[in-house]
């Protein structure tokens, strides 16, 4: 169990927990977070290295219990797990929807330290829900904003904004994380413009280590083979953007 160093609100619905420990996580990798007596669930590492951190949204009993933990209290962490993003190329586009910014932000930090040209499309419900906007602007990213309600930037889907940002530019790679429907649309752009792409997927996970098959997608495991997959892999998934498994292993529509 690790002691909480800081617990802060990022937006009205998201919070970040920083720990005292060092964790070497590749952007896109996740940890299993245990709130004793309540639940255990996967979360993206949003700050790697010194005083590593996780960023989350309150979506159920487990995350609500987590949100009440104070600095000095301890929670269980195991990991990092999975295959993260593999940074490549110099002219990069990042597309993040909602909490999808959690793994994208440390990836942008990495890209900035390598001197890449960085364009970022962030999509959020409203201006208040834009995650890590200041962090990535400081890192040197050119930020393009879309909101569902038009309270800031482009009103509409992040994927539509991404399409116009790409335009006729020659980009070397697209990195994306967010709702699966958004990822499918970004795949369309990448395919049309012949740009290599990686996306981080989110599925219900139980073991987090590739045993239980709960996060299976077409014979692969999001927890171990992913969560980051290449465009070629993403295209081979019939379930992508259509169905996912519930707790009992039933296929349910996304």
């Amino acid at each position: 169990m690790l002691k909480i160093k800081e617990h802060t609100s990022e937006t009205p619905s998201t919070k970040t927990i920083r720990f005292y420990e060092w964790l070497d996580a590749v952007p896109g990798q996740f940890v299993m977070v245990w709130v004793p007596g309540v639940d255990e669930f996967p979360m993206s590492v949003s700050y790697s290295g010194n005083s590593f951190g996780i960023t989350y949204q309150i979506v159920g009993d487990g995350t609500r219990a987590l949100s009440e933990k104070k600095p000095g209290e301890r929670i269980g962490i195991r990991g990092p797990y999975g295959r993260g993003f593999s940074l490549s190329g110099k002219r990069l586009l990042f597309v993040a929807g909602g909490l999808g910014m959690a793994p994208i932000a440390p990836l942008i930090d990495q890209a900035a330290s390598r001197g890449c040209s960085i364009d970022l499309v962030i999509g959020a419900r409203s201006a208040k829900e834009l995650l890590f906007e200041r962090r990535v602007t400081r890192a040197g990213a050119k930020v393009h904003i879309s909101t569902d309600d038009g309270t800031k930037g482009f009103k509409g889907f992040a994927s539509d904004l991404a399409d116009s940002v790409v335009g006729n530019r020659r980009l070397s790679h697209i990195f994306t994380c967010g709702p699966e429907k958004m990822i499918v649309k970004v795949m369309d752009i990448a395919t049309r413009k012949r740009i290599p792409m990686q996306a981080s997927l989110e599925r219900m996970m139980k073991c987090g280590i590739g045993v239980c098959d709960s996060c299976a997608i077409d014979g692969r495991h999001v927890c171990r083979d992913g969560p980051v997959f290449s465009l070629k892999e993403l295209k081979s998934f019939d379930d992508l953007g259509r169905t996912k498994l519930d707790q009992a292993g039933r296929k349910v529509p996304i």
Binding site: E40, C207, D213
Partner: protein
């Protein structure tokens, strides 16, 4: 020339390794991937009548020599799972349908239904250590084991395996009971009942508190159980528990197993473990002048060498 093919209860396997129940087998495509990776047969997740979400997380604890798990028999129910079995069958290797239930009647009916759904045989999960009212709670009594096997055999045409629990004073008694009930084969062992406590949280880690221990830590227990069962019954035994290498598999086969199952090592080594174990078995056979796996079965027993 060495041959890895084995025949177990009428099932023809291209090699003696099977995927153990509970790993990589909630979906047909994952089972298919394991078949393609070289497993000689696939055992499905344990399936019940109705969809079941399983225990709350945490459901696994990683240990130095194995895994502790309390998944809690999550499954979509036989009706929905039928299509997963069909998908798994595309792998071209036998698919064994694992079933669990709360009553003899339910288990026997599920045995019929999985075979109807396309399974080549049935594995009765009489041994899950962490689901109240199911598995080991039923399967620790020889009388219950006998009558479940009897009823299941009456309901289905497919071969019936009884998967037994090591959490019992005498697994040989359970095996004898299964044989009396008409089971075609025995699978041993299921996981050992265990617990892990987090000393900071001062409470058991697993959501269900109690779980099942698997992996290299349990191998000596499994080998001993197979050895005892082999002496107690005439029906074939399938050995499972902690197999990572070809030598581990050979150990089980020498104890009396006609085939083996691999579960935890699919996690630690990846699905490639099946072809790796087979290669190592082949090499052992070549080095020791064995032509068939059958020649090795039970050689560790006095008078069998």
């Amino acid at each position: 020339m060495t041959h890895l093919e084995v025949e177990v209860c009428g099932l023809r396997l291209k090699n003696p390794t099977m995927l153990a129940s509970g790993v990589f087998d909630e979906t047909g495509k994952s089972m298919l991937a394991v078949a393609k990776a070289g497993a000689g047969a696939i055992v499905t997740k344990s399936i019940g009548m109705e969809p079941r979400p399983g225990h709350p997380n945490p459901s696994v604890v990683e240990l130095e020599h194995g895994l502790l798990n309390a998944m809690g028999l999550p499954n979509p129910g036989i009706k929905l799972y039928a299509s997963e079995i069909k998908e798994a069958k595309k792998g071209g290797v036998p698919v064994i349908g694992s079933v669990f239930g709360g009553t003899e009647e339910e288990i026997a009916e599920l045995a019929r239904l999985v075979v109807e759904a396309g399974a080549d045989a049935v594995e009765l999960n009489l041994s899950c250590p962490h689901a109240k009212g199911y598995g080991a709670e039923i399967g620790s009594s020889p009388e219950a084991v006998e009558s479940i096997c009897k009823l299941a055999k009456r309901r289905t045409k497919g071969p019936v395996f009884a998967k037994l629990t090591p959490n019992t004073p005498s697994i040989a008694d359970l095996a004898r009971a299964a044989e009396r009930g008409g089971a075609d084969g025995i699978v041993a062992i299921n996981t050992l009942k265990g617990m892990a406590i987090d000393t900071d949280a001062k409470m058991p880690i697993l959501g269900n508190k109690i779980g099942g221990l698997s992996g290299p830590a349990v191998k000596p227990v499994g080998v001993r159980c197979v050895f005892e069962i082999y002496e107690a019954v005439r029906i074939p035994v399938v050995g499972v528990g902690g197999i990572v290498t070809g030598r581990d598999a050979i150990e089980y086969i020498m104890a009396g197993a006609s085939a083996v199952q691999i579960g935890t090592a699919v996690w630690s080594e990846g699905p490639i473990v099946f072809s790796k174990v087979c290669k190592e078995i082949s090499k052992f056979m070549k080095d020791n002048q064995y032509q068939t796996v059958k020649e090795i079965v039970g050689v560790a027993h006095p008078g069998k060498r």
